[in-house]
Every structure is written in C-alpha cells, then in structure tokens.
Amino acid sequence: MDRQQEFVLRTLEERDIRFIRLWFTDVLGFLKSVAIAPAELEGAFSEGIGFDGSAVEGFSRVYESDMLAKPDPSTFQILPWRSENPGAARMFCDILLPNGSPSHADPRWVLKRALAKAADMGFTFYTHPEIEFFLLRGRPEKGGLPEPIDDGGYFDHTPHSAGHDFRRQAIMMLESMGISVEYSHHEGAPGQQEIDLRYADALTTADNIMTFRLVMKEVALEQGIWASFMPKPFTRYPGSGMHTHMSLFEGDRNAFHEAGAAYQLSKTARSFIAGLLRHAAEITAVCNQWINSYKRLWGGAEAIAGAGGEAPSYICWGHNNRSALVRVPMYKPHKGASTRVEFRSLDSSCNPYLAFALILAAGLKGIEEGYEMPPEAEDDVWALTSRERRALGIQPLPQSLDEAISTMEHSEMVAETLGEHVFDYFLRNKRAEWREYRRRVTQFELDRYLPVL
C-alpha cells in the first residue's frame, strides 16, 4: 500500500464517503462507472475489481473472463453534486486482465502508451482544451427541436442570465474537483458556452474532460436545463468544437520554443505541425467521430455567408488565421513556455484519450521523420475557390464519417497508435453507424421532395 492509497483510505473515513465510483471510458468515449463500498477499496487497489467486460462498448467479444478495474489513487476526488449525497467519490481506473497485462481496449491505456512513446523521445505532452457546448431548455425529446436557453452572442453578459448562473456554479464545482478553469464566456450562438481548462499533461486533461462533461450535465440538471456536447445541434448556428492548444516539453523547457525563429517555432514544433497536417485526414474519424460531427466541419462556411464558419475544414496552418486547421497563436514576449499550437478540428464529443493519442502520434511522426512544414496559409481559406485551394495544395478534411473511415482504414499510423483491437473495433462500430444513417429518410428529404415529387 503506498502513501496515496493510504491517503484515499483515510479520506474515506474522515469525510464519511459511502460510495466510490470507479470510472473508466469505453472506446466511444462514454464514461462508465462501477460503484463499490469503501470496504472493497483496499482489494481494488491491490488486485482490481472484477467486472464483466462484455457489457462495455469495445471491450466485448474478446475476453471470456472478467476484466479488472484498478483505480488510480492520484485521481481521487469527492463528487460535489447534490445528487450524490451522502458522500460519494470517484477515481479513474486502468483496465487490466487477470494476468496483469493492460487491456488493449482501454482508451486510457492507449493514451498512456502514446505518452510513454513520447517520454522515450524525451517529451511530455501538454494540452489545454477550449470546450464548447450548448445549454438547452428541458430534456431532449424524440422528434422535438432543441431550444437554446438564451439569445445571447459572443461574450454577451446579460443580467441574471441562466447561462451566467450556470457558469458560475459549474466553475465552482470544477474547481472543487481540482480542475482549474482558465476562462469562460458566452460563445457566439444562443445558449452556447465556452469553458477553457488550464494547461495540464494530456492524461490529466483527458481525465478532466471526462469529468467536465459529467459536471456540466449534472449542474444543468440541478438547474432544470440540459447541457449538450453534440457537435452541431442547430443548422443555423455554429457547432461546438474543442480547440486544443498543445505543446511538448523537454524537462521544464518548452520544446516548441526557439527564440528568434519565425513565430518562435522550433524545428521540433515545425515538424510536429507538419505531422499533424500530413496525418490530419487519417485521424479525423476519431477526432470527429459522429455523423453529426461533419455537419459542424462542413455546415458553417456556406450557410452564413461572409462570417465564415468557425470550423476548420481545410488542412493548412496559419498564424492568427481562424480558418486554418492548425493555428500558431500570437507569441507573448518573454513567455517562452507559452509557445504552442492550436488544433481546431476536434469537437467536444470526441473520446479525448484516443484523440489526444492520435494527435500526439501524428506530431511525433512528423518529428521522427523530420517532415517539412508546408507554407503558411495567409488568406481566409473559405474565401478561396476550390481551384485556388488546389493550386495552393490545400486539401479538405474528409467530408463525411464514411469518407473519414475509409481514410483511417488505410493508416498504419492510426492502427499502430490505437492498437489493433481498438482500431478494428472502432472501424466496425463506425461502419455500422454509417449504415444505420444511410438507410434513414431525413426531414431534409421529406421537406424537399415530398411537395414536388
């Protein structure tokens, strides 16, 4: 028993915790939970808690025997929301097999393996997500249309607005769970919020995103509203993305920073960006994993003329160019540690473990192979004609889940990073989702064809 485990056991006693929720994540990014009583925790620390893996998306079919959830004591937090009273706490778990081998189906392990590879190259990977989501009135009902809680816009501060109260309480709750919030504001669309989490290593960030999504839903429920991370619930408003800032550190030195270089970007950073761009299409199926994700990626530009979409649909990079997939933000003098790149295609409903693992692997591949960064995109890419874009060598991201799957299918890099099991499962699951969607007759077709055909 190590000291952290002892700390957890002591806290259970002192704070009168009655339940411990052991959290893990399935392949699609849904949070799963096994509740145990405090008396079982010591055993869980030493041997893990057995559960039936076949009930979990992506874990099934392969293993006949039980899997083990082994809590990571460094993730211990007391759950602050009312619905969990009396005292409940949570820990994230690693999923193991009875022989001690990590389960290759566990997304957290996939990320850990990618981070270990980075560590072998001397890097730690830090990320900082800006998470967007909508607050809607009431619970979603089948056939009903979503209704935002307000009519606000970017940075609006309406007096006594529900969104304002919501953010205040949500942030308090996040902070009480040890998740630091950098920034929060009303986003561009009615009812849309953005909350930015503080920089942290990628594993912690991914754990935090899982917690974040749950906290938002809990707080919303307490206030009688609904929080949704669906990438694009409204045709007329921009969707919810998760722009993610990232950097590699070597020890406590920012490996992306090089004083005096263009945009202060080191060779490492340039190759990392080149890797991200070259493999962007292959990792899209994971970064944007739902049918609906592609409505966000492709639904903005044409719909709102002039304003441009918020989503980056074309594979290019730029400096303060909001239309680029990879953006190099303004450099702040004397803050070498803050040099970073922003990856903008992610949406807030991705599986953060898998997405971060792939983003990191793509960047590392660029570093390993010494990819060269293509020229900067200086124009608003949406404003260009497709011929102009082709002339500049700017490729689009996949335009549908179907296209994204077909691109991913041929990627050795993705297979290598996700591991064969997750790779295989993910493709099968997404193909099934696409087939299901394809056979559906949509409202669009009814509205458009029924009257005239």
Partner: protein
C-alpha cells in the same frame, strides 16, 4: 626462514628467501647501510612481506629520503615489522610514507604510544584515537583539517592517508577482522566527508542558512567499505529557521558540490575518491539536494523496487546528524513496506532472474572471469541476493533489517531463511573475495576488481593471504573453490530453504516457516504455493536414496520452473514423471549429473501439456534431452528404414507392428516438440518434419496392412492389385502441425489379368485396415487418416483405380477439386502408380492457358462465402488462425490462385507448399516481394500459433485463445514476456490485417 648454507652467494641466499631478483636485492640492502646487510631480523621481516622486493624497494627509498629513519626503525623492531608488512603489499602507501616520513609513527602497534600527529603540520591535534584492539575513532580528522590552512584539500588528503596507513597496518598484521577493517574504512570516509563539508562551509556564502546532512549509501552506508571505491551518498537539506526554502536549497547545492569536489579533486597530494550522488531520486537528472519531504514524496510515489533495495544501506555519515537520522528513520519505514507495493513480485522476479542469469553465465574469455566484483558469482551477486531476501522477508521479520552483508547473512541463517551450512559457506566465500579485493586495491590504491594473471601479482596476493608454500597456486585453487560456491548461491539462498520448510528436521534447528515458504514461492512466481509445497514434500520426503538425490536436484529445478511460463504445471509434471521413473536408476542420476538435461526438462514441463503428456506415457525419452545433437531432426530415410525393420520384425502381427511404428512416431513427435520449444527449428521445418513423419508412419501402416490382407488371401497369393497413397491438404503441402489429421486419397491398379472386383475388394480391405491400425486405442497418439477429399467425398468409394479417377475428373471435376489437387503428392505405396496419379492430375491443377475467368470468379465467390459461413459461431474473425482475416486460408488461396493461373506456363510454381509457391511467384515477377513478405509473415505466425496451442494445451485449436491464462501461456511459448499476452494479440492482429490487405488486392483484385 631457512637460508641454508647451500647457497654460496648472498644473492642466491636472498633469492631463496623469496626475493625475485637476488642481485638487485643485495644491492639495495647494501645501500641501506653497513648494518643492514647482516641484520637477520631485518631480512626475516622482509622475507615475511607479501612481496619482499616491493618492501625492500620502498624501504630503500624511504632511507634515501630520511637517512635517520634506519636507526629509529632498528630501535623499534615492532614498528619496522609493521612498516615492512605494509610496504610489501602497498606501493601507494609506501609512497605516502616516503613523502611524509613522520607518519611512520602512525604505524605503532598495539600498546605503542600515539602517533606524532604531524600530518601536514596540522596543529598536533592528531592522535589516532586509542591504540590496541579498540576500533579507532576518526572524529579528530575534521579538526585536523580545519585549522585554516592555506591548502585545506592537501591537508585533508595527507591526514586521510595517514589514518588509512594506520588502519592498513592493523589489517595486514591481522589485528582487525574484515568487519572491523571495512567499518573502519567507512568511518574514515565519513570523517573525510565531514572534513570536506567543513572546508565547503568555509568557502560558501550563507552556509549557515541551511542544515545539510550527508547520507552514506552503498558500502559506505552499510559500514562495509573497501580501500578505495566511489563513496555513494545522498544529500538532504532543510532551511535554517526563518530562511526561505529556495534560497536554502541553492546554498545546500553549492555546499554539496563543494563537498564532492573537495574529495575528488586532484591536487598535489592526489585525490581521495569520487563521491557519487547518483542514487538520489531521479538519479543524475534529479536535483542534487532535496528536502526531507521532497525525498519522501518521491519515494512514496515514484520509487522503484531497486531504489528501496539501495535504501537498505542508508545511514547518516556527516553533516547535520539530527536531520540525517530523521531521514533514515522515515525512509526505513518505506523500505520495509516495499514488499507490499504494486509490482514488487514482478520486480523481484526480474531482479532474481538477473542474479541467476549473471551467476550462471559461463566464464567468458577476457576479464569477466577474473572479475571478483561483477563477475559471475562475484561480490555483487552475493550482496544482491542477500538484499533481495531481506526485502522479501524483512517486512515481517525485523531481525533481518541489517545494513551490512555479513550480519544480514548471519541473521538470515539464524532465522532459518537460509540453510546454516550454506550461509556459512557463502560468508566464507564473501570474506575471501573481500580480502582479495582489499589486497588488490591496497597495492596502488586503485579502484580495481580484476585479479591479475601475472604470476608475481598472484604470488603477492597468495602471500598476503598467508599462503606460503605455493602462494600463486594455492590462491588460484582457493579462489576457484569459493567462486564455485558463490555461483550456485541463488539455489542455496532462494530454493534450498523451501525444502527444509517441508522436511522433518529436529525442532531445534531454525527453518523457514510454512508461511514464509509460501510467501517466497509466491514471490518466485508459483500461483499455488501450498500445492507446490506438497509436491516438494512428496518428492523429497523419506530416507530413500531417491529422496536424497531429489533434495540436491530440486532446489535447482525449482528455479528453472520459476522461469518457465507455468511453474506450477512444471513442478506437477516433474512430480508425475518422477513418480513413474523414480526407481529407475539412470533417471535421477542423469538429471543430477547432466545439468542441461534437467534444465531443458524443467523448461519443457513448465511450458505446456503436450510434451508432458508424451513423456508421461514413455518417460524413458527424458534421455533424449541430453544434447542438441539428440534433438536434431532424424533424416526421413533413417526413420523409414527403422519403421520398415519394425514391420518386418513383427511379420504377421499387423497390430503390434503398427504399435511399434506409432511408438517411433511418438518419440519423434517428442523430439520435434522439444526442438521446436528450444528454438532449434523454425515453423516451416516443423511442418516438414511432422509431414515426413506422417509419411513414414503411413508407409509402415500400409506395409503392415498389405501383409495382413495378403495373409488372408487364399494360398497366400500376391495381392491382385497395386496401391498408392496420395497426400492431400496440409500433409500434401508438408505443413502438418502436431495435431493434424492426415488427408489422403487411395489409388489402386489391378495387376494384369486380375479380376477388377477382387482387386477392388483387396484394395478396400487394405485401406480400411490401414486406417484402423493407425487409430487403434493405444498410449501413443493416433494418426487419423482422413480421405474425405476424394471424389464424391464420403459418398464416393474409398479407393479408386487410376482409370476411375481419370473418368471422374474428365466428367465431373469442379474448380474446387482442381484447387485441392494442387496439394496432391505421392506419399506411400507403389511409387510408379503414385507418379502415374500425379501425372493424371497435373493437367487439371496446372491448366494450360491458366484457369478460366469464370473459374476465377467461382473461386472468389466460394472463398467469400466460406469467410461468411464457415467460421464457428461466436468466433472472432480477426482471431481465427485458419479461416479468419489474414489467416492461413487467405494466404493459401492467394498462392493457389496464382498457381492455377500460371503454373502451366511457369514450372517453378508447381509445388504443393504454400510458402514455396509464393517465393516462386516473386521470382517469376507474379507477386510483389513486399506482398509476399506480408503474406508469409502472417502464414508463419498463424502456423506458429497453431503449433503453440497444441504444445500448450495438448489439443488442437484454431482460434487465438480467449481465456487469459491460456492466452498467456501460448504467448510465452511463442517467446513473449509474462505480461505480453495482449502484445501478442496486437501483433497477430497487425500482421493479419496487413496480410488481408494484400489478399484483397491480389486475390480479390479489389
């Protein structure tokens, strides 16, 4: 020293006394002055020195430098003897005395007055502590250095060596035990660190802002230091009251650096030794100094088992002792809880494997076998093994919490954790090796651990150890004896006590309790320690000779089982085989005397059931494990001859003839399995060997069946027909696995004039008899002969004539049959007939102009349907080695389609073997080499998995196992580490995914 009158010259007399160069010695003696030449006592002292020439040379240099010394030494014969003993071993200390003659006084023996205290003029504060047998204290050393001298580093070095000289004298005079000497050296090093710290404080700004403690680690911490080595330390600091921590740590870091430099820097007086702070948290990349809390935070969260092993030795040696003790107390708690940490068992196993592999390494050429520290069975191995046992058992038994090796070993022995005799022998070996190490290092005060191979050096070592008759020879002899002892230490330390735990020993003798034995077995990797103890008890109980041999054998075997994938199964199998064979005189003798046999047996038994099963039915085959030559594949012709002889011997008794052949087959299956698991043959070779073994078996069974049927013919006439067996499927492709059925077709040809009906009846009788004989219940594994691939399958006649085959194929043959015939190969019986059959089917399987487009479409459709329908319900298509994605069928159909299309034009493609066809296709430019590589990799891996499943489970299987335990064992049999089962599956999925991509492109032409 008998310098007899037989020698006429002084030089001769001197040579007889032990000088290597008599003439030179004579010259030097004369140089000492007129009195010296006749001073018999002086000669006697010189002659008792380990190296008389070295002693005399040094004495001569000292006299040149300080002529007055001769008289002083003559006046104090005791002092002179001590001086010359030191001179005879150490050129370096002699050098010191020559430079600082006043230090001669420090050599004073028991009862002599204290030293003159003149070290570098350091204020007369010297006085080497009390004289006599009480251990000297070195507390005055820092004061001696502190006196504000201009070159404090020089003063430190001179003062240190003066005290070292005194200690060395007590050592070489035998006045101090090894434990006292090593403790004295550690205390002296600690005093030097204290002095260095004082120097550092004087030079460092704000030195008062921080409390700094120096923690001794390694041998310094354990108070078992040698004459010269790196001194391992860790620095701990706390801010003085009211001082900000960052600042304090900065000061502390400067102090620590200055301390290290003060010891290691080379000045006019040389250097002391390197101070190594590499054992600190995060090693060389971590901060040099941390606070106590920061240390503890690290150890609680991050430390690895080996770091706790290192912390066993921690002891405050200099600086703020209060802080140092606080550190050691806090860390001590963690150390003894280490065995309860995650991963401890795995770490210990890895560490143990390291010790064993190391100790087992056979002496290589070069330095390794002359290395007394790092060599096999050297000091490091002994220390490491003792520490490992301390960590395993020290949690529950505080008596084991000792820092130094010898006391720890004694405590392990008293507690029964190590057998008393073994502990004693190991302690002797350790003491001997340490003394040798000291003598080696004293010579030039160099950090060396290599025993020289120079005769003169060996002589000095031998004489230094008190061997006089044949010092070099006796030394080498003794050294080898101890090294042999130490090399088997893992067996003594780890395994033998387990036997005592279950033995009926007199109650008075301490021994491992059953609980401690179970804990140790578990730490060694046995999943069922209670069961293991029962087997050990059963094997070693009683007073029989057999039990006595088992008692010497089992400790070693237990270690080998622990290295095998399934230690429990290994031990169980060993018990079963020993129960069957125990009374056979050669069995245990073979295992005891032939280490390689025992080791291989342990590995095989602990790997899977197939070999265990074969051995249980015929344990005498253990003898086969004797040498790699025994495991070499037997040529098919030799086996065929042996089988034919067996059939000939048994004559009319077909059943006993085939029983003999099946025993031969079992023996060869075992040989192949052993060679396979020992990595001597690759998967293609395994397939070839197993297939030709099946050929031989079928041929012999056919001969026996022919005899049996012929005997029933009226008048013993010849059979009215000739018969041949055609191999199909995997057997045809020479790709059999251990459990493969033999796919065959039977063809016969009536002799001229014979009745068609009688011929057919006889042929049927032979084929039926052949199948019956090979499937008869017997202890030897059956060979199922499967003829379902024949025309019309099970509805068709079992045997056809050549003409009937011709008629059938010309009328009915399907694409599918042509494809199956690609595997057809003559296997047994009438070879002319066999060749005729092959000639008959060649136009079908190698169609001129290639197979038609419609046929290609049909073949693809059939394959696609098989993929959808043939998989067993619930099987994961990705993990089915035969029909799954990228599995055997995928690769084979791809090869076969290329053959059907091109073999008529390209004779190289006419082979029954998959990989050979693929290679030929590459040579002919019909297949991309990269694609061939992916296909072959998948085919080989799938085949290896199928073989491994059979070897592990003892029955065949098509799917990568879904049960974790089985999957782990299969992964181990394939060479993956203990927790590598999921990596194995990941590899299989990757290889087959890539192969499938090739199949989709090349076979389906997507």
């Amino acid at each position: 020293m008998g310098a007899g009158p037989r020698f006429r010259t002084t030089a001769g007399r001197l040579a007889a006394l032990g000088f290597a160069d008599g003439a030179r010695a004579e010259r030097l003696l004369r140089g000492l002055g007129p009195e010296a030449a006749d001073d018999l006592e002086l000669l006697d002292d010189l002659a008792t020195a380990a190296d008389p020439d070295l002693a005399l040379t040094s004495l001569s240099r000292l006299t040149d430098r300080e002529p007055g010394i001769s008289a002083a030494l003559r006046a104090d014969p005791g002092l002179r003897r001590r001086l010359l003993r030191v001179f005879g071993l150490s050129a370096a200390l002699a050098e010191h005395v020559v430079r600082h003659p006043a230090d001669v006084g420090r050599l004073g023996g028991p009862g002599s007055p204290g030293s003159p205290g003149s070290a570098g003029g350091a204020g007369g504060a010297g006085g080497a502590g009390g004289a006599g047998s009480t251990a000297p204290s070195y507390e005055e050393l820092p004061r001696a250095v502190q006196a504000g001298h201009e070159h404090p580093l020089d003063v430190l070095r001179v003062a240190y060596r003066g005290r070292l000289l005194r200690l060395a004298a007590r050592d070489v005079m035998g006045e101090a035990s090894l434990i006292e000497v090593t403790a004295g050296l550690a205390d002296l090093a600690a005093a030097a660190l204290e002095a260095a710290l004082a120097i550092a404080r004087a030079e460092t700004e704000d030195a008062g802002d921080v409390r700094l403690a120096v923690i001794g680690m390694g041998k310094c911490g354990a108070r078992e230091l040698n004459y010269i080595s790196d001194v391992d330390v860790i620095f701990v600091a706390e801010p003085a009251e009211g001082v900000e921590e960052t600042h304090a740590l900065r000061v502390a870091t400067r102090l620590a650096q200055a301390v290290m430099w003060a010891c290691s820097a080379s000045t006019a007086e040389g250097s002391l030794w390197e101070v190594d702070a590499g054992l600190r948290p995060e090693g060389k990349i971590g901060p040099l100094v941390r606070t106590l809390d920061s240390h503890l935070a690290y150890y609680r969260r991050w430390a690895k088992t080996w770091e706790f092993q290192a912390l066993l030795k921690a002891r405050p040696v200099a600086g703020d002792l209060e802080l140092g003790h606080a550190y050691v107390a806090a860390v001590g708690e963690l150390v003894w809880q280490a065995s309860a940490r995650d991963g401890f068992v795995e770490d210990v196993q890895a560490m143990r494997r390291r010790v064993e592999a190391h100790a087992r390494t056979n002496a290589r050429a070069g330095e390794a076998d002359r290395q007394i520290k790092l060599g096999p069975g050297g000091l490091r191995d002994i220390e490491f093994a003792v520490q490992l046992l301390q960590l395993v058992h020290g949690r529950t038994d505080p008596r084991l919490r000792r820092r130094a090796t010898l006391p720890a070993l004694a405590a392990l022995s008293e507690g029964g954790y190590v057998a008393r005799d073994d502990a004693k022998a190991l302690a002797e070996a350790y003491t001997f090796l340490r003394r040798v190490e000291h003598l080696l290092q004293l010579h030039r005060l160099r950090r060396t651990h290599v025993v020289p191979d120079d005769e003169a050096d060996l002589r000095r070592l031998g004489r230094g150890l008190g061997m006089t008759a044949d010092p070099a020879g006796e030394f080498t002899e003794t050294w080898k004896r101890h090294a042999r002892q130490a090399r088997r230490l893992h067996e003594k330390l780890f395994y033998r006590p387990l036997l005592q735990a279950v033995a009926r020993l007199p109650e008075t003798q301490a021994r491992l309790s059953p609980e401690a034995a179970a804990a140790r077995l578990e730490a060694l990797g046995y999943a069922d320690p209670e069961g293991a103890l029962r087997h050990i008890a059963a094997l070693t109980g009683g007073v029989s000779r057999r039990a006595a041999i088992q008692r010497t054998l089992l400790p070693v075997m237990l270690g080998w089982f622990a290295d095998a994938p399934d230690p429990d199964a290994g031990l169980l199998g060993f018990r079963q085989i020993s129960d069957k064979l125990g009374s056979t005189p050669w069995y245990l003798r073979l295992l005891r005397d032939e280490t390689a046999v025992a080791e291989r047996l342990a590995h095989l038994l602990g790997t899977g059931r197939y070999v265990t099963g074969l051995l249980l039915h015929a344990p005498e085959a253990v003898a086969m494990l004797g040498s790699p030559a025994e495991l070499a594949v037997r040529p098919a012709a030799a086996l065929a001859a042996e089988a034919a002889a067996a059939v000939g011997r048994h004559g009319a008794h077909a059943e006993s003839a085939v029983a003999a052949v099946r025993a031969l087959r079992r023996r060869e299956l075992l040989r192949t399995a052993c060679a396979d698991l020992s990595g001597l043959i690759d998967v293609e070779e395994v397939g070839r060997v197993l297939s030709s073994l099946a050929d031989v078996t079928i041929q012999a069974a056919l001969d026996a069946a022919l005899n049996a049927v012929r005997d029933k013919m009226p008048g013993g006439a010849d059979l009215p027909t000739r018969i041949a067996v055609i191999a199909m499927g995997r057997l045809g492709g020479m790709e059999c696995s251990y459990g493969s059925d033999a796919d065959v077709m039977f063809v016969h040809e009536p002799r001229p004039g014979a009745s068609e009906r009688e011929a057919a009846q006889a042929a049927h009788a032979v084929a039926e008899e052949l199948r019956r004989l090979l499937a008869l219940p017997a202890p030897d594994p059956p060979l199922h002969v499967d003829a379902d691939l024949r025309p019309e399958g099970r509805q068709g006649p079992l045997v056809r004539t050549l003409a009937s085959y011709r008629a059938y194929y010309s009328r009915w043959s399907s694409h599918w049959e042509a494809q199956a015939l690609l595997r057809a190969r003559f296997c047994a019986g009438d070879d002319v007939l066999g060749r005729d059959f092959v000639g008959l089917v060649d136009p079908l399987r190698f169609p001129v102009g290639g197979v038609s487009p419609e046929a290609v479409r049909e073949i693809r459709k059939l394959k696609a349907r098989m993929e959808a329908e043939r998989l067993p319900r619930g099987a994961d298509p990705a993990l089915h080695t035969k029909l799954g994605r990228g599995g055997l069928a995928d690769v084979e159909w791809t090869a076969q389609l290329i053959q059907l299309r091109h073999a008529a034009a390209v004779p190289e493609l006419r082979t029954t073997r998959t990989l050979e066809a693929l290679r030929a296709a590459v040579r002919e430019g019909l297949l991309d080499p990269a694609d061939e590589a992916e296909l072959a990799r998948a085919w080989r891996l799938a085949s290896r998995i199928r073989d491994a499943i059979m070897l592990v489970r003892g029955r065949a299987g098509d799917g990568v196992p879904t049960l974790v335990k089985e999957r782990t064992l299969v992964a181990r049999a394939l060479g993956y580490p203990p927790d590598g089962s999921e990596d194995f599956v990941d590899d299989y999925r990757r290889v087959t995914r890539r192969a499938r991509a090739v199949v989709e492109r090349v076979f389906y032409e997507d």
